[in-house]
Structure formats: structure tokens, C-alpha cells
Amino acid sequence: MTSEEAPAPRDIAVVAFAQTDHRRSTEESSEVEMLMPVLHEVLARTGLKTADIGFVCSGSSDYLAGRAFSFTLALDGVGAWPPVSESHVEMDGAWALYEAWTKLLTGDADTALVYSYGKCSPGSVRDVLTRQLDPYYVAPLWPDAVALAALQAQALVDAGHTDEPALAAVGARSRADAVANPHAQLKGRVPQGDYVVRPLRTGDCPPVGDGAAAVILAAGDRARELCERPAWIRGIDHRIEAHALGVRDLTDSPSARLAAARAGAFERPVDTAELHAPFSAQEVVLRRALRLDDGVCVNPSGGALAANPVMAAGLVRIGEAAARIHRGASDRALAHATSGPCLQQNLVAVLEGDPR
């Protein structure tokens, strides 16, 4: 038996990002019609064509729009001939990006197209999301997404980690920052509004909307050819907690913290963090779990409180963080995506630009 030295891991970067303008409804478009311009835009940024891409991976959920196998129809927008190497996750596109990253690590591909989309407008996303819950003990009660987030928010208030004015400030800051984001759905001064499920008010909740996002990953020198300042993925990891809400400490996010540690987030400070916190209280949890102090620019895009195309909002966080590195507005950024109720599952990526 011979022992071979493990090859050095490949450097992999986000080299391009594109997203739709996120809107309350895109009823004039099918999913592929909504997605396709974003695919064309992200390819155009690199000059690549579909045939040049080594791996294609997407994330979406048929439950959102009630369309069976919608991801196969969405593939029409990629142009899958000659046949492409392709995969799909029934998750946020951030997890599709994770799969693409591992594919590039193996050396099987040098470039990957990652995309995701969500059309929340055809259904009631609050109710649709109940179908991801434990089907024996929880789903028969139809606890909607806002209700579960409100239980988490109240636990935070009880623990003294936040209060209603502090939560309102999270929403206000997010929508104020979103003014500079042409893609955001809800921006500017937005009334905090009435309780939706107390203690969460309208302003604590994300807008319901449709949208899509796409990212191109590339390895090593290929990344440098395709992008002036690639956003190198220094680490990426995802962790999940127990599904039973009553087993978890809802005021903390050990899964986000562990994912961040495994991604190397705590080795050096980040200057920017794009957090996927659809509800204001979740930002409070994540800031503590990820040890983000006031020196970190959190959600300069406005975050999910400004646009929350479900299944794309997590990938948008990675794309926004990468885009800031591309244009020199950040040198080291943390991007986070979540899935499941009350931050059940969390993905953290650390992105860096080359020294300037």
C-alpha cells in the first residue's frame, strides 16, 4: 500500500451574481420566464455559455407555487443541450451552492452555475411552510411561519435579549439600507404596523414576494480569468438542529455558531455579514451566535426583511456578500442562509477578496 499526500484543496470563488427585482407578484411570468433573464445576466457577466459550465445546481420547492416538477421546467431556461451535468435540491439555493462547491472541490468541474427561485405569490406561504413540519405532532395544528417565529421572538423578549422597540429598529434599519438596493421589494420608511402574531408586527415580518437569483462559481485560475476580484470561499458549512421546537433553546443558534466555526468565521473578524433572518428577532439570535459586534456591517442589502423570495433569499445573501467583495466594498464577509422553522438549519460561508 502506498500513501498519497492529499492534494491541496482547490480555491473556489463566487465570480458572478445576478438577481431579479423581487416583487409581490410575477403572475405575468411562469417560473422559467421569471428565472431566465437572471441566468442570462449571470452568464453574460462572465462571458460564459451554458455549454462552458461544468456543473449546474438549483434549489426550489414545488410547494410554493403548487407546480409539480417545476424545477424540470425551470431547466428549460438553462438550455440543457448538449446534456448538462445537473442536480437540484428541494432547499434554498444556498444549499445548491454548497453542493456545487463540493463538486468543484472534487476537481470534476471548474465552473458551476447555481440558481434558485421562489414564487410565493400563487399560494399562502405562511401556510405552505407548515407542510415542512413534523407531520405527526406539529403539521396537523397548522402553525404558520409567523406564529413559530413569534414564539421565538417572545422567548427572546422573556430572556431579556430584545424588546419590541429593538425589533422594530431591526426592520427600520433593514428597509432604510434597502433604499440603495434596486432589487429590494420593501424599502424606505415602512410602518411597523399591527401585530401579525404577537409580539411580531408587520414590520418584523418579511414581505411576501417572488424572485430568483443565480451565482457562478469557478476554481483557481479560472476564477481569476472570469472575475477581476473573485470572492473566494474560505470556508462553508451547514448544520441542523432537532426538528422538535420544544427540544431546542429558541434564544440561541448552536447550529449557526458551529457552522460559522467550521467555516472559519471566528479566525479573523469579518467587515460585512449578510444574514438570512426573515424575521427581525432572528437577526438578534444570529448576531449573538455569530459574535457580530457593532463594527460589522450587517445586511447592507436590506436582507430578507426587504426581499424574501423563499428558496432564493439565502443564495441572495451569498451573492450580495460576494458582490460587495467584487466591487471592493468588502474584504472579508460572512454570508448566512437558513432553512426550517425558527432558524432550525443554518449555513455559513466566509468569503474573501484578494488583498488590494
Binding site: E27, V32, E33, G66, V128, A139, A147, Y195, L250
Partner: protein, 313 residues
């Protein structure tokens, strides 16, 4: 461009799910007004109980009865109950740690208003009058001023234990087919079949879906095709479908309409099923008030030459 079409769409399924031994005991217990937890290897009691230890992943089955009284660990006031939720009047969502349990159960609390609810308040189970072995056998929780109830000593052995549950699920949507399919459906209502051409490969897709799946480009140029076409391949259906008033056997075929580069599928009528063949020339049959052809029937033309449709198989 015509107004985008939309229509209500209801997805409704009764999901039939089997139960593991711990889930079966818990849900059967609810039917018998008994709340069971499961003891983990480190001695904690989980309610609701699970089949595997959430920390160690060990299989666990040491069932222990807990009290129907407990303490609210967090809550949220729901002033506008939604379909399927436990109460139709405003209520609090609560996580309740039952006396004897170390974890909390999600349910509803019937209370007069948010001012009557707080974390730490004492509550008790209100049982549903009719119980079937489901989480909804707990109708809800209600405020409880008295002492903790004493749990019984059930170990989860019941006569006639549940083996499975049927969990109905319904989601309502407003379906809109998008630009390309709206145009297609709109043309159909005028008895015209209109596809769309790819700007790159020039193929005409019928029905159009808005994108050329080969090139990944938007199709926009509308092209009327047919109405006649050629059967490229077919099958003979011998099993009668539920709610479908068509005598079997009948033929379902791929039909390449003249001018189209993709075959669509439809039923063939007006000819005995065993005389349908590849290359048969057909035309649509419209019925009064229908928004699409009821079926296709033979024309009197000679069969198409194989060379003319072999690329469309």
C-alpha cells in the same frame, strides 16, 4: 398582450403515514387521555416523545406517563386563526412543558386575551370530545390554577394501538400559467394552435413554455401551426381512468402538427383503435364550448412518409 390568465388551484391529499412504536404509543395514549413521554439515555423525559434520542441518535423506547398539567415556556398571541388551526377564536400558540417532562410541546392555549397569557403560567390539557389518536385529541390547553395533576402509571401498552394516521393536507393557490402559455390558451379559445419559435435554433414549440429547452433562450415569435398533423407514435389505453368518460381501449398519440418541431399528445378518435398507425394524418375535433380539441381524427390524406417525421419521434 392579453391579460394573464389565472385560476384557482387546490392541492389536497390525505397523507397516510405509518407510526413507529413510540409515536404509536403517544398518539394511542392521547386517544385514551394519557400523555406519554420517552426517557432518553441521560434520563430526560421528552414530550412529545420521539423514536430516537435527538442528542445521541440512540433508539429509545422507555415510555413514561406525564401529567396533563404544565407550564408555558413561550407563547405568541394569534388574533386571527387560520384554517386548520386548533381553535377558531383568537388564541395563544404555546410551548408547554408538562409536569414530569423536560421538553415542551407545541399547541394552542384558549385564553381570553393576550393580557391573560404569560411565560411561566400554569395550564392543563383540554381533551377533545371525540378522540382518534392524533395530536388534535388535545383540543387545546386552558389556564390552570390548581396543583399539578398526578400522572398515572401507563407504560404505553394499550388495547388496539394505532398503526398509522391519515393526515389530510390542503393548500390553495391561484395558478397563473405565465406569458407564453397564456397566449397559447388564448389562441386555443379561438380554435387556433399557436406555438413559439426559438430565435436561435428556429424550432417551433407547441405548446410553448416560454423558453427553448435546447438553447435556454426566450421564445417570443408566435407561429400558428396545424391544424393537421401526423401521428409520430402512440399507445393503446386499456384501463379506464377514474372520472373519465371514454370507452377503452382507445389510442393516445404523439402528434406532430404541421409546422411544429415538437409533438404534442392527444387522444385519437374516429377510427378503430387497432387501425391507428405511425404516419397517420389527423386533424383536431372541437366540441362546442371547449377550450381545446376534444380529440384528433383521421383526415383522408395518405399517410406521411417516415422521413418527414422521424426527427420528431
Amino acid at each position: 398582450m392579453p391579460e394573464v390568465l389565472s385560476a384557482p388551484l387546490v392541492l389536497e391529499f390525505p397523507f397516510t403515514r405509518s407510526l413507529g412504536p413510540v409515536q404509536s404509543a403517544f398518539l394511542t395514549g392521547l386517544r385514551e387521555r394519557v400523555v406519554l413521554g420517552v426517557r432518553t439515555t441521560d434520563g430526560r423525559v421528552l414530550v412529545p416523545p420521539v423514536e430516537y434520542d435527538p442528542v445521541t441518535a440512540e433508539e429509545i423506547h422507555d415510555l413514561v406517563e406525564v401529567a396533563p398539567t404544565g407550564t408555558v415556556t413561550t407563547w405568541a398571541w394569534n388574533h386571527a386563526p387560520r384554517r386548520g388551526q386548533p381553535l377558531a377564536t383568537p388564541f395563544a400558540w404555546v410551548l408547554v412543558r408538562l409536569d414530569g417532562a423536560d421538553t415542551a410541546l407545541l399547541h394552542a392555549l384558549d385564553a381570553p386575551g393576550p393580557d391573560a397569557v404569560r411565560t411561566g403560567m400554569r395550564v392543563r390539557v383540554r381533551w377533545a370530545e371525540e378522540r382518534t389518536g392524533a395530536i388534535t385529541d388535545i383540543a387545546c390547553f386552558e389556564p390552570h390554577d390548581g396543583e399539578p395533576a398526578q400522572p398515572g402509571d401507563s407504560t404505553g401498552a394499550f388495547a388496539d394501538p394505532l398503526r398509522g394516521i391519515v393526515a389530510p393536507a390542503r393548500l390553495d393557490y391561484t395558478y397563473s400559467p405565465g406569458r407564453a402559455q397564456t397566449a397559447y390558451i388564448g389562441a386555443l379559445s379561438a380554435r387556433r394552435i399557436v406555438g413559439e419559435r426559438c430565435p436561435s435554433c428556429r424550432k417551433v414549440y407547441v405548446p410553448p413554455r416560454g423558453a427553448c429547452p435546447t438553447c435556454g433562450l426566450a421564445t417570443a415569435e408566435q407561429v400558428e401551426v396545424g391544424p393537421r398533423g401526423t401521428v409520430t407514435t402512440f399507445c393503446i389505453v386499456n384501463i379506464k381512468a377514474k372520472n373519465l368518460d371514454i370507452e377503452v381501449p382507445y389510442v393516445y398519440a404523439h402528434i406532430a402538427l404541421d409546422g411544429a418541431d415538437l409533438a404534442l399528445h392527444a387522444r385519437i378518435g374516429g377510427i378503430p383503435y387497432d387501425r391507428v398507425r405511425m404516419g397517420l394524418r389527423v386533424e383536431p375535433v372541437w366540441t362546442e364550448g371547449a377550450r381545446y380539441p376534444d380529440h384528433y381524427r383521421p383526415t383522408s390524406e395518405p399517410d406521411a412518409d417516415y422521413e418527414t417525421y422521424k426527427e420528431l419521434l
